[in-house]
């Protein structure tokens, strides 16, 4: 689809980062005053890279996703910069923004199972953005393109004639991905793309996504509450809590040896099958996420944190840089232990077997003593 790449985007490829979010703040206006959903987030995505954003409901990750394409509700006040190929999406003229949406960057929303129009055939729904952004394409070329897209996500091209209700959940999710790819975007934002799916279908969809990034050099921002899925797929993971980044770094390291206690809790929530430490020991995090309107002074995670101490209370901890490009915002991280390999993680003792890279032996374990 050579035509799609030249769709009037500011051509600064190669020079600028694909996506560079700088000090982004998003505040929703509510009846009871401002609700800060995103508070100073910095994030970058390069071409051919998958970046994961993890956090629980209300941490601001979906607000972040929609702000990237300026899809935030009108009640939101946004400051900071969202640089896409070097130009700021937040201040872009309407025409340029329209060109970026779909053709430059596209988004796969969560709850995709309900995002398709039930009364149109899926082929027509996939063709719609192509029609808008490449009006010069003939109808037969467009139909061929739809077939090609369906094949790319592992569906039969004949499926173009189906209605959404004739498809299973996994198939609908693939249609959503095909649609996001319709105009050959350079960036795909995927908000919980596999949350409602079974493990096997999830594996199929994740396979489609990672092939895509590898083969076509697109960048992807993937949002999920499941750190184990992100660890499998992503190059980098950013963990958000109460609108801020509390940890970021290489995916495997963040999952296996998290620095921030909150990242530790997320990581331990999904046990490694076969890890004796997780047997009959589900790891949870007591308490509820904070109300963004009434954030406590100091570290916003402190009320739920097992390691909270006096020093957490005066001010919100800054995001500090550690080895290997890792960052974490916690004053309780023992700085003497911050070597690249054996990071003494704050949450290790309660959760996962330290740097986690050592998997529980390769052979099926006999589990002495655990089975009668």
């Amino acid at each position: 689809m050579s035509a799609a790449t030249g769709s009037g985007l500011p051509e600064a490829r190669g020079a600028a980062r694909l996506l560079d979010i700088r000090d982004l703040h998003v505040t929703y206006a509510t009846g009871e005053g401002g609700l800060p959903a995103v508070r100073g987030v910095d994030l970058t995505v390069e071409r051919g890279q998958i970046v994961g954003v993890a956090g629980e409901s209300g941490c601001g990750k979906s607000t972040l996703a929609s702000t990237i394409l300026r899809l935030q509700p009108p009640s939101a006040t946004v400051t900071g910069q969202v640089l896409f190929d070097g130009s700021d999406i937040l201040t872009m003229r309407w025409g340029a923004l329209r060109a970026v949406r779909w053709a430059g960057a596209s988004i796969v929303f969560q709850g995709a199972l309900h995002s398709l129009n039930p009364v149109h055939r899926i082929g027509r729904q996939i063709a719609e953005p192509i029609e808008t952004h490449l009006p010069s394409l003939s109808e037969s070329r467009r139909t061929a393109r739809v077939g090609e897209l369906l094949e790319q996500v592992g569906l039969d091209p004949d499926r173009a004639r189906s209605y959404p209700h004739q498809l299973s959940g996994g198939q609908k999710q693939r249609v959503m991905i095909a649609m996001a790819l319709a105009c050959d975007p350079h960036l795909v934002v995927a908000d919980e793309p596999t949350t409602a799916l079974d493990v096997m279908v999830q594996a199929q969809v994740l396979g489609v996504l990672s092939d895509l990034v590898r083969d076509r050099e697109v960048g992807m921002l993937m949002i999920s509450h499941d750190l184990s899925v992100l660890a499998d797929l992503c190059d980098k993971i950013t963990v958000m809590y109460a609108g801020r980044v509390v940890e970021s770094g290489p995916a495997k390291q963040v999952f296996a040896g998290p620095l921030h206690p909150y990242a530790g809790a997320l990581s331990a929530a999904f046990p490694r099958v076969g890890d004796p430490a997780a047997r009959f020991a589900p790891a949870g995090l007591p308490g509820d996420p904070p109300d963004p309107r009434n954030l406590t002074q100091g570290c916003s995670f402190a009320p739920r944190c097992a390691r909270a101490a006096e020093e957490c209370l005066p001010a919100e901890p800054p995001l500090e840089t550690y080895d290997d490009g890792r960052q974490a915002a916690c004053v309780r991280i023992d700085r003497t232990h911050r070597s690249s390999s054996g990071v003494e993680t704050p949450s290790v003792e309660t959760h996962r077997s330290s740097s986690g890279v050592e998997t529980p032996s390769v052979e099926p374990v006999e589990n002495p003593g655990e089975t009668p």
């Binding site: 999830q202 184990s228 490694r272 099958v273 089975t371």
Partner: protein, 353 residues
């Protein structure tokens, strides 16, 4: 009689609009005993929710029977009512399962009122509701009495549902995807609650889920379903560290972060239950058959149906021609039968009653 709920050869059929018969459950044997946590796992469409509904009498089996404490479950409203007090179902999607116009108090008290469990001599309704809420980890319970579901967090709603079940002092809990709609941080809390209820009240729990990590976290035993039948069952440690059935092996290999396993991604989805494949129902998607590993038994896989896997609360069993052939070969049994990744298969428990 111990609190034991069992299904024997249960079949459930639905007729589709086009008149074809979908065999949602095609012969399933399962036993849940008091004090144990049993995980029933499988993909959507495997029949796991239908089996759970049949066990509490919400779906009537076309054949086979459900027994509770040794007695066959009748169809009469009276026998069902007794079962439904003793065996409580906790539904998935707490927001959908709670009546939005009922307060927490009313939602929890509803079961008590239906079953007329509040007597003049015993504890009052308020006391029983409060006790159930605190048992579900909602403290202080009085603070929640007058709240509505939309005022609660996802984790609190799930706890209210569990409290509604606990209010009836059941001996068995059936939880359908208890944490799939919850945040990662709350997930562990709810699972810990289930374990605590088992510990403190001696409850038996059947957890229906597609999440093998959850099973590893809390289940004593696990039963894997595929297309209306249980294809493998046994102690969780054995099934998840030495799976026998190629379907279980595939499911396990795609759990995220299982980097010690080469992912076996099956193509397509569970077939239409109106057209269950002949022979082994898994054979069209079976990686062992496709790779040629099962060549010796390929004719059986394609042509000979497997018997229903009998429920066996102690052993590890699987319904697979390939596994059966390996076990019947003495050399393989003592030696090291290899699965198709070259790892030794553990056959302990196979065939032991």
């Amino acid at each position: 009689m111990t609190a034991e709920l069992s299904a024997e050869g249960v079949r459930v059929e639905f007729t589709t609009r086009s008149g074809r018969v979908a065999r949602a459950l095609d012969g399933a044997d399962l036993v849940v005993r008091g004090g144990e946590v049993l995980a029933l796992v499988g993909e959507s469409g495997s029949g796991k929710t239908t089996l759970a509904r049949t066990l509490v009498g919400l779906t009537t089996p076309a054949a086979g029977e459900v027994r509770w404490k040794g007695e066959t479950l009748g169809r009469s409203a009276r026998s069902l009512k007794a079962l439904r007090r003793d065996v409580q179902l906790v539904l998935q999607d707490p927001l959908g399962a709670l009546n939005p116009r009922h307060t927490v108090y009313d939602s929890v008290a509803e079961g008590l009122r239906i079953h007329k469990l509040v007597t003049k001599t015993g504890p009052s309704e308020t006391e029983r509701v409060a006790a159930a809420l605190s048992a579900a980890g909602l403290r202080p319970p009085e603070a929640l009495f007058l709240r509505y579901p939309h005022e609660l967090s996802g984790g609190q709603r799930q706890r209210v549902l569990i409290a509604g079940a606990l209010a009836l002092q059941p001996s068995l809990l059936i939880a359908d995807e208890p944490v799939s709609s919850l945040d990662a941080s709350i997930r562990g809390e709810i699972l810990a609650l289930i374990l605590k209820l088992r510990e403190e009240l001696g409850l038996g729990v059947l957890v229906v889920t597609h999440d093998l990590g959850l099973a590893w976290n809390i289940a004593d035993r696990i039963a894997v379903m595929y297309l209306g039948r249980i294809v493998e069952a046994g102690p969780t440690e054995e099934v998840l560290t030495a799976p026998q059935h190629p379907y279980t092996q595939a499911l396990l290999s795609v759990v995220p972060e299982m980097d010690r396993l080469e992912p076996i991604v099956l193509h397509g989805e569970i077939p239409d239950p109106t057209r269950i494949p002949a022979g082994c129902r898994f054979h069209p998607r079976c990686p062992a058959l496709a790779s040629g590993e099962a060549d010796a038994v390929a004719h059986l896989c394609r042509g000979t149906a497997l018997p229903i896997l009998p429920s066996d609360p102690e052993g590890h069993r699987s319904a697979c021609h390939l596994v059966a052939q390996r076990v019947s070969t003495p050399l393989d049994h003592r030696g090291a039968p290899l699965d198709h990744r070259g790892a030794p298969l553990d056959h302990r428990g196979e065939g032991t009653p």
